[in-house]
């Protein structure tokens, strides 16, 4: 549980799961549906406690599985509710059927993925494989580096999701174990600040289940004749536009947050000590902290190394990545998950795709670490830097490096 620090009335010490629950409370969410799963369980326990204590004025529905978690929220959203849940790993897999449907119905909601490696081998520890498995389904996905970023991004998620140019669901990904259970000092915005930032819910103006304005939601659409083909294309294309529109909306939301709450996070990608960098690391999530430390150590040695953190992963900020990495000689992309199709990390594929648009195209290599709760330490990042610097010299892209293979 949180401990309130007396010297700073707005500061608490809490872990990422509690921070998400505070965000849900401050965002005045109407409905949460819950089902526990490690390492998300304490998050839904906090939500239940906040409701029981009268802190969170929401309808809480304890259902019989993750499939129903999201299905209940579909009903709630179509009736006009602002909704929230969180899950991970096998729970996300079980939820996949309604998960797949959420963006097509243009349902704005926020769901935390407290990232966990997927089965099998049987594992309950952190890793990005679960969130990566659903990266092409049409949800917006933002990855957090710190507990503070979890809290702030979860609230910002609603502003993005419910924006009229977007109307899409948002995953806020926070790393299982590191962020879910790691407690740090967190500054809690006031309710007044959040109210000034976030307008009232606007979730079903476009598709509703409401007897006052009867409509049929999701009739069969498509087929080979009549209006079907063009109508289906219109839906799909609109969905893609919503994704692309979200890039600007995410930037604007982060700007508003900085203006009202006074805290600034990089919205799409963060460039760290990149000004004169020759080699760059690319990171995702909580590993970024160790990555930045390793960059600092290299800089202390006089090496021109920088780091680019990807915050918004879907839609992939192609132009921002291309710009951030233009001019470096080599890039080392560190993934906490695997692309089975490419024998590399999935973020690596995205980065080399984006580099197509870079003015000067650096060589890039894939590093995979932190699977199933393994640590990616500054030593691991030291090896990444060393290998990437070698790549900068000889341009020879080697095989994917598995960082914890010999731990």
């Amino acid at each position: 549980m949180s401990a309130v620090l007396k010297s700073k009335p707005k500061a608490i010490v809490c872990d990422g799961n509690e921070a998400a629950a505070w965000a849900v409370t401050l965002a005045r969410v109407d409905m949460v549906a819950v089902y526990p799963i490690t390492p998300q369980s304490s998050l839904v326990e906090y939500l239940a406690k906040f409701v029981a204590d009268g802190k969170l004025n929401a309808e809480i529905i304890d259902v019989e599985g993750e499939h129903s978690v999201l299905s209940v929220l579909h009903g709630g959203t179509l009736a006009g509710a602002r909704t929230y849940t969180g899950t991970c790993g096998p729970g996300l897999a079980f939820m996949f059927e309604p998960y797949l449907r959420t963006p097509g119905l243009r349902m704005p909601m926020v769901m935390s993925i407290v990232t966990r490696d997927t089965l099998t081998p049987q594992s309950v520890w952190g890793g990005h494989q679960d969130a990566m498995s659903v990266r092409e389904v049409g949800w917006i996905q933002m990855y957090c580096e710190t507990v503070q970023e979890v809290l702030d991004t979860t609230i910002m998620g609603y502003k993005v999701a419910e924006h009229r140019d977007v109307m899409l669901p948002v995953n806020v990904c926070h790393d299982g174990n590191y962020l879910s259970y790691g407690a740090t000092r967190v500054e809690l915005p006031t309710q007044e600040e959040v109210d000034a930032f976030l307008p009232p819910p606007a979730t079903n103006w476009h598709a509703a289940l409401d007897p006052d304005r009867p409509m049929a939601v999701d009739p069969l659409t498509g087929g080979a004749g009549g209006p079907g083909p063009s109508m289906f294309v219109r839906y799909r294309k609109g969905q893609c536009s919503g994704m692309q529109n979200s890039l600007a909306v995410i930037e604007a939301a982060h700007e508003d947050w900085a203006r009202i709450v006074g805290r600034r996070h990089a919205p799409l990608v963060e460039s760290y000590r990149m000004d004169d960098a020759e080699t760059a690391l690319v990171t995702l999530g909580s590993m970024t902290g160790a990555g930045k430390d390793a960059v600092d150590e290299a800089r202390d040695r006089g090496e021109r190394v920088g780091l680019v953190k990807v915050k918004t992963y879907r839609p992939f900020p192609v132009q921002a990545i291309a710009k951030a990495l233009s001019g470096v000689k080599a890039v080392g992309v560190v993934d906490r998950s695997v692309s089975f199709g490419w024998n590399s990390g999935p973020l690596y594929q995205d980065v080399i795709g984006a580099l197509q648009f870079a003015t000067q195209r650096p060589a890039a290599m894939s590093f995979i670490g932190g699977l199933a709760g393994a640590d990616i330490t500054t030593d691991h990042f030291g090896r990444v830097i060393e290998r990437t610097q070698a790549l900068a010299k000889d341009g020879q892209v080697g095989e994917t490096v598995w960082l914890n293979e010999k731990d």
Partner: protein, 450 residues
């Protein structure tokens, strides 16, 4: 077929003035002493209850009577009392749960309502509209006056009974409704629609086949939170209810969500080409239990969905058949009322002309035979009164008579027919034992509360 004429009571219109009791006593005894009235209005806190004969479809007074002094009149549905046969044992009064037949000291024997020959004086005496005389015919007329909430021209198969169920159910439920129709025949005939056109006049949606009850949970909970009265209703097939949708259905029932879930049971996945579901009966041909050199149709018995729902301690569970519409309407009304308090589940059997292989004009006849052979039993259940048969069949049609009406059973061996006969008898015995009183205790035991 028994008629269904009865007197209904609307307590919200009653102010306890006693005019009905005075009129009845005067008509039956010549004096206005209300103790002799066949209708008794009893104060119950701020409200009133009716103690009076309901002219039940499955009258316990009749089955309790050892002297054959009570009988249900097939012409008007009234339960007649014959003073020349009565032995004054009062067993009938023990059987009745409604206080509808009682010993009257002045008369010296039991008395009960006879509906005044179809023109009840109590109803005429009530100027507040708290009493209504309902006949089979006016039940139909009343529903006919209500708006049909589906457009003309839904594309069901010829002779389809499901379309009948949809239209009648939604007329009764009314427009303040959000309707879920999971994939199957019901949206397949165009209720949700195609390419922007819809066949329904209330908000309607395709849930997934798996999540009907969960989506309705979200809809209903949010409207409740906003203080809006909106019915959350599912019209689902047996596959979506009993197989892949069972988990969400079970979860919603366990939580007591205020949902009316109507399962239209045509014993399989008829919309997608007649595949087997867990509600498909033993022996039935389906496209996934084909008949051939080795195949003999389905080799397992059907899952008893409505009984499973009883075990969830639902607010109301009933079975119904389109061959007995007055019984169906009665249950529909009870289910709608129950869904405002908790989970209500209505299981309606709907023979499928296409998938069961019989001529389309015989649909209602097949439905009727299923009930008369006890292949389908009509009952209702709630946690307070337990399970009651609403139309018990004492001299059932032979099961072979029912099976031979359907092409899907054409291949059955004598042994298979014997298995079905034995299963039906076992089921009848089980349901009857539940109706005889062991059910509420059993339900408690099953839900761990005993």
């Amino acid at each position: 077929m028994s008629a269904y004429n009865t007197i209904s009571f609307l307590p919200e219109h009653c102010d306890g003035c006693n005019a009905c009791m005075t009129a009845c006593a005067t008509a039956k005894t010549g004096a206005p002493d209300v103790i002799n009235s066949r209708i008794q209005i009893v104060a119950d806190g701020d409200s009133f209850e009716l103690a009076m004969c309901r002219q039940c479809g499955d009258p316990k007074c009749v089955s309790n009577c050892p002297a054959a002094a009570l009988a249900k009149n097939d012409a008007d549905g009234v339960i007649d009392w014959d003073g020349t046969k009565c032995v004054n044992c009062l067993l009938c009064t023990v059987g009745c749960a409604y206080g509808g037949i009682v010993h009257n000291a002045a008369a010296g024997h039991v008395v009960k309502c006879d509906t005044c020959g179809g023109d009840p004086i109590c109803v005429k005496a009530c100027d507040r509209g708290a009493l209504k005389y309902l006949t089979t015919a006016n039940i139909y007329n009343e529903v006919g006056d209500l708006e049909d909430l589906f457009v003309p021209g839904l594309a069901g198969c010829q002779g389809c009974n499901t379309e009948l169920i949809m239209r009648h159910a939604m007329r009764r439920i009314g427009p303040e409704t959000v309707l879920a129709t999971p994939p199957g025949c019901i949206p397949g005939m165009g209720s949700v629609g195609y390419n922007g056109l819809t066949g329904t006049k209330v908000p309607v949606f395709h849930p997934l086949l798996t999540n009907t009850a969960s989506m309705l949970t979200g809809v209903k909970r949010h409207y409740k939170r906003q203080g809006r009265e909106v019915n959350a209703v599912a019209l689902a097939g047996d596959g979506g209810a009993s197989d892949v949708g069972f988990q969400s259905l079970s979860g919603a029932a366990e939580r007591g969500e205020q949902i009316l879930f109507i399962c239209v049971d045509n014993e399989g996945y008829m919309n997608t080409g007649m595949q087997r579901s867990s509600c498909t009966p033993f022996g039935a041909w389906t496209s996934t239990t084909p008949v051939g050199e080795r195949g003999t149709g389905k080799t397992q018995d059907a899952k008893n969905m409505p009984l499973l729902m009883v075990m969830h301690n639902c607010e109301y569970v009933a079975t119904a058949s389109t061959a007995f519409m007055e019984d169906l309407y009665d249950k529909l009304d009870k289910a709608i009322a129950a869904s405002k308090r908790g989970f209500a589940y209505l299981h309606i059997y709907s023979p499928c002309t296409t998938g069961w292989r019989f001529p389309s004009q015989e649909n209602i006849e097949v439905a009727r035979k299923a009930v008369e052979a006890n292949f389908v039993m009509l009952w209702e259940s709630n946690p307070r009164d337990g399970l009651q048969l609403t139309r018990s069949v004492e001299q059932p049609l032979s099961i072979a008579e029912y099976l031979k009406a359907l092409g899907k059973y054409r291949h059955l061996s004598e042994e298979q027919v014997g298995h079905i006969q034995a299963t039906v008898e076992k089921n009848v015995g089980f349901i009857k034992s539940l109706s005889e009183g062991c059910h509420p205790a059993m339900a408690q035991t099953m839900s761990g509360q005993a």
